[in-house]
């Protein structure tokens, strides 16, 4: 187990180093998220729908779509010069490769959220100060599920003829429970309800995370056999 985690950390560090030096996916995902916030604001009549009613849905829809940008990159960087073969030949287990990729994606998605959520609060005039703790918990739970499923499908989609076109089609149905649970929980918090009322949604997110982290980690080795 310690071997797997150490191997995973090495892989995650490698991916984050690539991303940190190029910043290409991070900047595009971030700008995409900020643009999304602006576009969604104008997609509704602000005199009919209050910005605070709109915000939870906007936040989590944008979160999943901008997440896809980073997830696609996760395995497409390994296609150049068949880098994935080097990774598979290295003395780390397949599960460690998957977890490493997933951890790098989690940090990536978390970094986008860390800027997009305050930006949402600013643009949509939300009082986030008193719900920051529970909101961060929702964000982490949602990100884990998204990244587990998304990393596996990214590994699969990159080897198909459709490549990046296939990823949203495979992944979005799996993101639906995450979006529903996270936006319902967020809207409970923003409308000043006690945290306990969002409890069922948080449990749903937690169950999703446990099931799909385990299932996707076990499934990944089947996608890289030769």
């Amino acid at each position: 187990m310690a071997d797997i985690l150490f191997g995973a950390w090495l892989i995650a560090r490698k991916d984050l180093a690539i991303e940190f030096r190029t910043r290409s996916a991070f900047l595009s995902a971030l700008v995409f998220a900020l643009l999304g916030l602006v576009i969604f604001y104008y997609a509704w009549d602000p005199t009919a729908v209050a910005a605070s009613d709109l915000a939870p849905g906007v936040l989590w829809v944008i979160f999943t779509f901008s997440g896809l940008l980073g997830l696609h990159r996760s395995f497409s960087v390994e296609t150049a010069d068949h880098a994935i073969d080097g990774l598979l030949a290295s003395p780390v287990s397949r599960e460690a490769i998957f977890l490493g990729k997933a951890i790098a994606n989690l940090i990536f998605v978390g970094a986008v959220q860390a800027i997009a959520i305050p930006a949402l609060a600013l643009f949509y005039n939300l009082p986030l100060g008193n719900v920051a703790g529970p909101l961060i918990a929702i964000a982490i739970l949602a990100a884990i599920g998204l990244v587990a499923v998304g990393t596996l499908f990214s590994a699969m989609a990159v080897n198909t003829r459709l490549a990046e076109l296939l990823l949203p089609m495979l992944a979005l149905p799996f993101f639906v429970p995450i979006v529903i649970a996270a936006s319902q929980a967020t809207s409970k918090l923003l409308s000043g309800r006690p945290v306990i009322e969002a409890g069922a949604w948080l449990k749903l997110l937690l169950a999703f995370d446990i099931v799909f982290v385990v299932a996707c980690t076990l499934a990944y080795p089947f996608t890289v056999e030769d």
Partner: protein
């Protein structure tokens, strides 16, 4: 010419069940003729869930035994399942419009779960089409076949929780009426005939897959 009995029996059984449903089963007191769609809708839904359940099982066993026959079965069952799910998604709204007053209801758990079943298995078919290597195609689609089955309970649960915060449909939503015997018999016959039809379709589709793979193999050996 070899006469294939399964499609013939299945076809006749479906025609018989539909005739019985249309002419020899009493009208439902409140819903009238609209309720007749029940004898197509419910068996199609049963077959859809059977088809995708079998895809998930065949996928799991495939990853264990690596028998290409299981992959061909999963491929066939998924395609037939999508056809029956489409029937469910068309007949459901047709019934719902006169009875609920709306074609679609986002708060109904079964509606939304069926829609996502359809989405997942359409992307399953697209995934299969996007991979050239038969061996890789089988592994990838098996992974999706299993994950898809894991997803459905989560969709179900999240829509269920979502629905409890929304108004329930006002227009006569039937709460699982206990059926009179004549209607129950018709439903039972429809279920059997649709199940036969499922196996007949899957068998034809499976034979097609076998012949296609044999041809591809022969072409590869020739080249």
């Amino acid at each position: 010419m070899k006469i294939s009995w399964l499609p013939a029996v299945a076809g006749l059984a479906v025609i018989g069940a539909v005739i019985r449903a249309a002419f020899f089963t009493p009208l439902e007191a409140k819903q009238g003729a609209a309720q007749k769609i029940f004898y197509i809708h419910v068996p199609a839904a049963w077959v859809a869930f059977l088809a995708f359940g079998l895809v998930a099982i065949a996928s799991g066993v495939f990853l264990w035994l690596r028998d290409p026959r299981l992959d061909r079965f999963a491929e066939s069952s998924a395609e037939v399942g999508v056809v029956f799910t489409t029937v469910v998604l068309i007949t459901g709204p047709l019934w719902a419009k006169p009875i609920w007053g709306t074609y679609w209801a986002w708060w109904d758990v079964r509606l939304v779960s069926t829609l996502f079943l359809w989405f997942i298995y359409v992307s399953y078919i697209v995934l299969r089409g996007a991979i050239d290597s038969p061996e890789m195609r089988a592994r990838y689609s098996a992974v999706l076949g299993i994950l898809g089955a894991l997803l459905i309970p989560f969709i179900h649960l999240s829509v269920y929780l979502f629905a409890t915060m929304h108004p329930m449909p006002i227009v006569g939503k039937p709460s699982a009426p206990s059926l009179p015997n004549e209607m129950l018999l018709t439903l039972f016959l429809s279920l059997i005939s649709f199940t036969l039809l499922y196996f007949s379709f899957v068998r034809s589709r499976y034979h097609y897959a076998v012949e296609r793979d044999t041809l591809i193999e022969a072409a590869n050996q020739h080249a």
